[in-house]
């Protein structure tokens, strides 16, 4: 039996169904992300687990116990908010101690636990500061320590990094993941940032308009998207319109040329329109073993992203985006250069309409 179970959970606000038929089993110690655009119901689902919203229908079980009837303060969950929500009238140490004081722990135990938690978030020197004296990243780490201090059964994080700068976002997500692994705490993480979800999670729940589109590991979500929405929301995608040239040979006409597609074309007939998807990292400028498709192209755009250089190449009738690693020895290609794109026919994904 899973540690945290949501079965048939539904939530209506007045006449709007914000979450429909949500089913999820979370194992103990697992890190689960709810990923989706704003308004997809991911935060509402999290708030139902926390107890701030009551499901219209369905069951939520933590360690086998139905918690739907319990108030938030009876559920033993830790919650981290986007706005940090530290108590402004208390110091860092008092914030972290709050839950323990409410639980009536003895003074010595509280002090020891607070010191331990401040050690874990690496801010022991800030114990006597007030929240307004901390940076955003520090505040969120304190909020994490406060949530974990009471040793909750489940840790819930609601877009905890959205208010932070890009650099801090990256370092803090690694820190959160490391602490989560070290403590082995079951975690649900809500985000609209696909990179955050992909990089942190054991499994991702991709939500769209109140529905679960796919549940899977980052690798599965990224490489075998279940729906057209997942394919376009997660990662960058080349989406190319073509016309089936020869269904038996598996060729599709894109612009003026035919390309081989390993993906089964099903019952489609020659002349039918078809949408092809291709991840930008599947295409290379230099041939690699195993690649069986070569396309002549002309560079139309070069964007330096840091370690990756994103190149856009015109293949006549369509533009293909490809990613290549930066290399100090060889400058990136230039706009107008004639190149050959290499890829494998198995990299094409035929999208359902």
């Amino acid at each position: 039996m899973a540690f945290l179970e949501l079965s048939g959970v539904r939530k209506d606000f007045e006449l709007v169904r914000v979450v429909r038929d949500f089913n999820l089993d979370v194992e103990r110690g697992e890190f689960i992300s709810f990923l989706g655009p704003s308004g997809c119901g991911k935060t509402t689902t999290l708030r139902m687990v926390a107890g701030f919203e009551t499901p219209t229908a369905g069951e939520i079980r933590i360690a086998g116990r139905d918690v739907v009837g319990l108030k938030p303060n009876q559920r033993n969950i830790g919650m981290v908010f986007q706005s940090y929500a530290l108590f402004p009238n208390m110091t860092v140490a008092q914030n972290v101690a709050f839950g323990l004081k409410v639980a009536g722990k003895p003074r010595a135990e509280i002090d020891a636990r607070v010191a331990q938690m401040l050690g874990i978030i690496k801010l022991p020197q800030l114990a006597d500061r007030y929240p307004f004296q901390l940076s955003g990243g520090q505040q969120q780490r304190v909020a994490l320590a406060r949530a974990l201090a009471v040793q909750p059964q489940v840790l819930l994080l609601d877009e905890p990094l959205s208010a932070l700068d890009a650099k801090i976002r990256v370092s803090l997500r690694e820190e959160i993941r490391a602490i989560q692994k070290a403590l082995g705490i079951t975690t649900i993480y809500v985000t609209h940032d696909q990179e955050e979800a992909l990089s942190m999670s054991d499994r991702i729940v991709v939500m769209h308009e109140g529905r679960v589109d796919q549940i899977g590991t980052p690798f599965e979500i990224y490489n075998t998207p279940a729906t057209s929405f997942v394919a376009s929301f997660v990662g960058t995608l080349n989406r190319i319109e073509g016309i089936i040239a020869d269904p038996s040979a598996g060729t599709v006409r894109v612009g003026a040329r035919d390309v081989a597609v390993a993906s089964p074309l099903g019952a489609r007939r020659a002349g039918e329109q078809v949408s092809l998807a291709l991840r930008p990292e599947a295409v290379t400028l230099a041939p690699r073993p195993g690649q069986d498709v070569a396309i002549e192209a002309r560079i139309v755009e070069v964007a330096f992203l840091g370690s990756v250089i994103r190149v856009r190449a015109d293949i006549g009738g369509a533009t293909i985006t490809l990613d290549t690693f930066n290399s100090p020895a060889s400058p990136p290609p230039r706009i107008g250069d004639a190149v050959t794109l290499h890829l494998s026919s198995s990299d094409w994904v035929v999208l359902a309409d």
């Binding site: 926390a50 303060n73 919650m79």
Partner: protein, 261 residues
């Protein structure tokens, strides 16, 4: 930099002209009771008047009562409205604004009609009942300021999220109110209280119509019959309100040490 200084000076001069000069004139006049020399005679005359002492004490007591009723009425209401009835906020704000524009006279007439000696609740029949009525009237009068002060205080903190954070840490309602909400709006409550105090001390219409021995009617009485004492009284009244405002500022500054402003 230069432009800023210039504007600062213009604002300051305007403020002095607008508020300072009338005050200065009053102070000047209040010290001219003894012909030819400046003296505090008018102040001694006023402060030595037993009616001054009695009415002032009465108004202070009424002000304190009003503050207690106001705080009990406003703080939970403002908190609940922010937390659970955000849609109702415009309505509540509108209601709390009403006393600003309903003349005091309407409120008092209404009370007299409703609670006169022949009504179902003859409050005006006894001094205590009338005092209760007056307190209610004052509360109404101070409501806009008290509500606005508390609501502004609540705005500086994220009431809903702080409540949820405390709840998720196991806190019940009492703990949330007492340990999280109150400490963070205490300064706002105090500033509302001082404002209320200043308003009640100077109020005339209600006290006069309900015929209670308050400070406002005494001010008016002296103002109509004496020459120098009213000026002295005005200065005293001004000093009291100024002290109240000073306390508000002081309290607000203290807050800055524990909170982001």
């Amino acid at each position: 930099m230069k432009r800023r200084s210039l504007w600062s000076w213009i604002v300051l001069v305007l403020a002095i002209l607008y508020f300072g000069l009338p005050l200065l004139g009053t102070v000047d006049f209040s010290m001219k009771m003894r012909r030819g020399v400046y003296s505090l005679d008018a102040y001694w005359a006023v402060l030595g008047d037993p009616r001054f002492q009695a009415t002032f004490l009465y108004s202070v007591v009424m002000a304190c009562m009003t503050i207690v009723v106001g705080v009990l009425l406003v703080v939970p209401t403002a908190y609940w409205v922010r937390l659970k009835l955000p849609r109702w906020r415009p309505v509540i704000e509108f209601i709390t604004m009403l006393p600003l524009v309903i003349p005091a006279i309407v409120i008092v007439f209404g009370y007299i009609r409703l609670y006169n000696t022949s009504s179902w609740l003859p409050l005006t029949g006894s001094a205590l009942g009338t005092d209760a009525l007056l307190t209610l009237g004052y509360t109404t009068l101070a409501l806009p300021y008290m509500y606005r002060a508390v609501d502004t205080g609540l705005r500086t903190i994220d009431v809903a999220t702080l409540t949820e954070a405390a709840e998720s840490l196991g806190a019940g309602w009492i703990t949330v109110m007492w340990r999280v909400i109150l400490p963070n709006v205490l300064v706002a409550v105090l500033s509302g209280a001082f404002l209320t105090f200043a308003i009640v001390i100077g109020e005339f219409t209600m006290a006069a119509l309900l015929n209670r021995p308050a400070f406002g009617p005494y001010l008016q009485l002296v103002g109509a019959n004496r020459a120098y004492e009213p000026a002295a009284l005005a200065v005293i009244a001004f000093a009291i309100t100024w002290i109240c405002m000073g306390l508000i500022q002081l309290v607000t500054r203290l807050q800055k040490h524990t909170m982001r402003v």
